[in-house]
Symmetry: C2
């Protein structure tokens, strides 16, 4: 069965995956962009000179993926009812997915077919329903869980994530969206691989015990 994978999830030393006070102009929250310095330095994001370990971790997140799941905030900043079909998310005319993307929302909307093979499907049935739809779309390939923090916590709390790649960065945010704390089942149901990384990020893969 295809696995549900999280990749390149950056977290501060004090445990936050996004800063506080998110706005349209600061979707990562106050200070939150600091979390992604290592990622933006990779060639995937047009950077140069990222250490090979960072490049390899970034690349692996795009390999073998047949569908993506994301929370609504990852699609765009609009809350509540969809005002019209004009707003097509902040991923541009040709989103970088090139496969079906399942957006969790409480408000139904027709699928949105973009250029380059990405179709956004809006799922109102909850995280299990989205996972089921993504599995059917992905076939033999895996599913990437894109975020945000609250969505990842929900899937972790239900024990549905198979592999979580964490990138710990030397940043302190003080407050924000707490990623892992307080998810009790992590201790029993998941195991951690060794730490690897560069001076900019420590990588670790947290896998569900089989």
């Amino acid at each position: 069965m295809s696995r549900l994978r999280v990749h390149a999830l950056s977290v501060s030393l004090d445990g936050y995956a996004a800063g506080p006070d998110q706005t349209v102009d600061a979707p990562m929250g106050a200070g939150g962009m600091q979390l992604h310095g290592w990622a933006l330095a990779t060639s995937r994001f047009g950077g140069t000179g990222a250490p090979e370990i960072d490049e390899a971790e970034m690349r692996s997140g795009f390999e073998g993926i047949g569908a993506t799941i994301m929370g609504r905030n990852m699609f765009g900043p609009i809350r509540g009812e969809w005002p019209d079909d004009e707003w097509k998310g902040w991923w541009g005319e040709e989103p970088p997915f090139h496969h079906p993307v399942f957006v969790l929302t409480h408000h139904s909307r027709q699928p949105l077919e973009m250029e380059g093979g990405t179709t956004f499907h809006f799922v109102t049935g909850g995280i299990h329903d989205a996972l089921e739809q993504a599995r059917q779309a992905a076939g033999d390939a895996d599913i990437r869980l894109g975020g945000g923090t609250a969505t990842i916590r929900q899937y972790l709390e239900e024990g549905l994530v198979d592999d979580l790649h964490l990138a710990i960065v030397p940043v302190l945010l003080g407050r924000g969206e707490r990623l892992l704390g307080g998810i009790e089942r992590l201790a029993a149901d998941y195991e951690c691989g060794p730490l690897t990384g560069s001076g900019a990020a420590t990588h670790v893969h947290i896998k569900r015990r089989t």
Copy 2:
């Protein structure tokens, strides 16, 4: 002026510096000993074969220290009034400090002189008072803040820690004593050095901005 330093403070991926349900037999809490595998592998603790980066980080915590501050739980498991002077802490007849140690407590007690140059002083005046007494005892040397988690949080919240060496370990505890989250001043007042480490621990030094 002498600096207040924290060393070899191990923290889980989900942000805990000790497990839940601490007892006399499990002073680190449930699962908490997993946090200290990298430390116990160093020669300081009789281990063999720890990577040099781990050895070096462990050694540096004992260099240039003239006094230690610790919370009462680090001295021993007794709570409330001291029953008698028989219990001399769980550090043995010759504690590994060899300098004055200031124990935070709400209950006064006469100083306890041990073999090898360690004297335990029991401070009832709070964390600032303990720091002042430790500064006088340390002279030109630095002060090591030994723990536990609650004591370190108190000193961080007051902005009194100069250098905090964190050892992030690939362990998940699910719940326990949260170390860094929610201390807002960390974002503005502290800066992080680069990440270094072995597969068993990632080291980072968090320093107060000057």
